[in-house]
Symmetry: none
Subunit: 435 residues, 2 copies
């Protein structure tokens, strides 16, 4: 069990995102080490000492990042040595490495006396070379407890971890097995409903474990197993994924890193279909999501951003009467926008968005977050009404992601009825395997 | 002194970035509360209990995020109540709010029994309404210790914090002084050059302090002061900002949360100008960035996504000869796309993007990351060639952000020469105050 201790006042002030803790957590978990606590503390010796004492009492491996540099604020090694009850000793070889690193890159700089701090190493510790900067890491294993100090700058931290900590841990503890996770993203069923459906499986599992998270626009189910190696871990996970799938028939699912835009691309490619957009409140984000996928030029023609009424008329051919009778934010306008996009781009399927991203412009009847999403295809036009929560940018994101999803679902539902577009045998529109 | 406790195994696994802890740290510090520890723990009752006990022992205010939902994994309130030694009680009024929230948005969903968990509240706690989701927060002040539970989804967490926790803290503890930071974002000058220009100011300051960070597409300079109240803190920061500004003449700068899209919107509104787009490799992201700004419907007409050559011709009127002679990724095509967008939308200014987002499709002559950005206005057409680093999505982001910047700079540079669009007295195109 591992505790990560990140140091630095800029983290406590919320100035930067803690990328280091995420990277280390991912890497360690995959190597079979469980990260059970992550703690952040500032450049304050008393608090840092108490954090390190607590960490070493409740876990066996403590990894710190930050505070190895030359300045007064850099105190991690000092505090760490005190807690581990060893002195810091000056290492001439480390000093030479530090000196030549600086001289090579900044020949004009004077070597300041405080650079010596970087060559002070806890007695008995292994020096972990830093191939991306000056301050080396250290690893001290004493009394069954391992305390590792890593530099704070992310590129340096990653270098030391990848090239020095990984082999060091392998040497000290041997292989810790392998943790494999697979993710199912479920787009058209709520969290509570999914839990109802699979709760017995969630409860009875310990390896693999099953966990659920509500994301923006979908629910993620994570299946994680620990085993001796990758093969064995996968052999635990994949049958469970099958089992979950069989409980969720006719639900649109993507796996692992596959986004809904990627799944849509896969289906469009397979069917030889093209898609286009017509966007009002999303401003272009639907097109942007679709083109996040490499190779989307094979099926994506373009998306016409039409933010103002007059260009809905002139570019997409929405009728002025529709806008007058129903306004721009209506089922009718969404339908005409989708149809207009299909004509403009000569696409097989078109998707449209029109709504109120907010925060202003909403009414009791049409609140901020109300978005109509239209899908037009050879099988006709459908319009979906949604009220999305969140701020302006989140409403846009949710609407754009949902728009991509509706295109996928529309193909999945209609393709089954209508040859020449395909049949159920294609495995689209039900809980399906990435292929 | 505050400890933030974020819960959720997905954080320990490194699956997601901890955005909540950053937001809360920023907000609390600004309100004069010192965040001294940030701890993350998984969905494990024993460890969560020990973390909460430690936190309540070493700080007076503990704020948790996550684990308030309807599922078995949601245990924060349960553990919190145990540590504070109060029972959880079912609150009918909270249940009604939860029920009506779900019914309004998902009329088709059955209310599952586990939704009741969200209406269980620590006895004696204040219920903190959640205007962006179902699970309310709670605040329990007992024996000089304050334990606040907030929901985990970022939009919900921010809503509850902004509208319920802030006034609650003000009521309970009064004002705690004020930390004010102002940020200058500098778009057209490198970090080293800026540092050279302002280094003496950076060095001699202690309140306010000055710090610099290289971001994607700009350099950020932060000026921070602490004082008794907002007024006094601003009085320390603003003159320093003026001083820095006077060192950076004719540099495009935005302040604080203002994005370059917001600055563009401000300038367009002031000048009564409209803008439109024509996007190939960015897929719609330029339009999306522009419409991230509330009120953008006053000056943004739309952006024509034209991903394939034939729609560049049919929608934007790019000539087939240009495409044949120079290909789609060329200065000439970018120029014709921008001009075509200006005609299609009847806009005053239009911006276009065409390039190779990658990872495939690049050649030695035209590598992945190559993007031409055209700007067309009453003063003529300019095309900028850029080669952006990063993966496909980063190339799209950098290109779209740069496109918005070029529109702003184009207005700033041309407006000065040409009345009727304005004059230097408008303060555009030099280091300028938000107004």
């Amino acid at each position: 069990m591992v505790e990560l201790v990140t140091t630095g006042s800029e983290l406590l002030l919320g100035e930067i995102i803690n990328e280091n803790v995420r990277y280390l957590s991912q890497q360690l978990n995959q190597m079979g080490y469980s990260v059970v606590y992550q703690t952040t503390v500032g450049d304050n010796p008393a608090r840092m000492e108490s954090v390190l004492r607590t960490a070493l009492a409740r876990t066996d491996i403590v990894i710190t990042t930050g505070g190895l540099g030359p300045t007064q604020g850099d105190m991690t090694k000092l505090v760490g040595a005190e807690v581990m009850e060893v002195p810091l000793v000056f290492r001439e070889d480390v000093m030479q490495t530090v000196t030549s690193w600086i001289k090579l890159r900044h020949p004009e700089r004077d070597l300041t006396g405080n650079q010596r701090r970087q060559a002070m190493i806890p007695e008995g510790a292994e020096v972990l070379e830093n191939g991306a900067g000056t301050a080396p890491g250290t690893a001290l294993y004493k009394g069954g407890k391992l305390l590792i100090h890593l530099p704070g700058p992310p590129a340096e931290m990653r270098w030391v971890f990848d090239y020095r900590v990984k082999p060091y841990l392998q040497r000290l503890f041997g292989s810790q097995g392998y943790i494999y996770s697979s993710y199912m993203k479920i787009y058209d069923m709520g969290e509570a409903r999914i839990e109802d459906t699979i709760m017995d499986l969630v409860k009875e599992q310990s390896n693999p474990t099953i966990a659920m998270y509500a994301r923006i626009g979908f629910v993620e189910v994570r299946i994680t197993a620990k085993a001796a190696d990758e093969q064995a871990a996968k052999a635990l996970v994949l049958p469970m994924r099958e089992k979950l799938c069989s409980r969720l028939p006719n639900v649109i699912v993507t796996y692992d890193d596959e986004s809904v835009a990627a799944a849509l691309g896969r289906v469009l490619l397979k069917k030889g279909l093209t898609v286009s957009g017509a966007e009002s409140c999303t401003g272009g984000l639907v097109g942007s999501y679709i083109t996040d996928i490499a190779g989307s030029s094979a099926y994506f023609l373009g998306s016409a951003g039409t933010y103002q009424d007059r260009v809905k008329v002139s570019v997409l051919g929405v009728s002025e009467e529709t806008l007058r009778l129903y306004t721009a934010v209506s089922e009718e306008t969404a339908a005409e926008m989708a149809r207009g996009s299909r004509v403009l781009y000569h696409s097989d399927i078109a998707v449209s968005t029109t709504g109120i991203a907010g925060p202003d412009g909403g009414t009791a009847e049409k609140p901020a977050g109300l978005v109509y999403i239209g899908v037009d295809g050879p099988w006709g036009t459908t319009v979906h009404k949604n009220i999305f929560p969140g701020n302006r940018i989140e409403v846009k994101e949710r609407a754009a992601m949902k728009a991509v999803f509706y295109v996928l679902r529309s193909i999945c539902r209609n393709i089954r009825k209508e040859e020449p577009y395909g049949s159920e045998a294609d495995g689209i529109g039900k809980c399906h395997e990435k292929n």
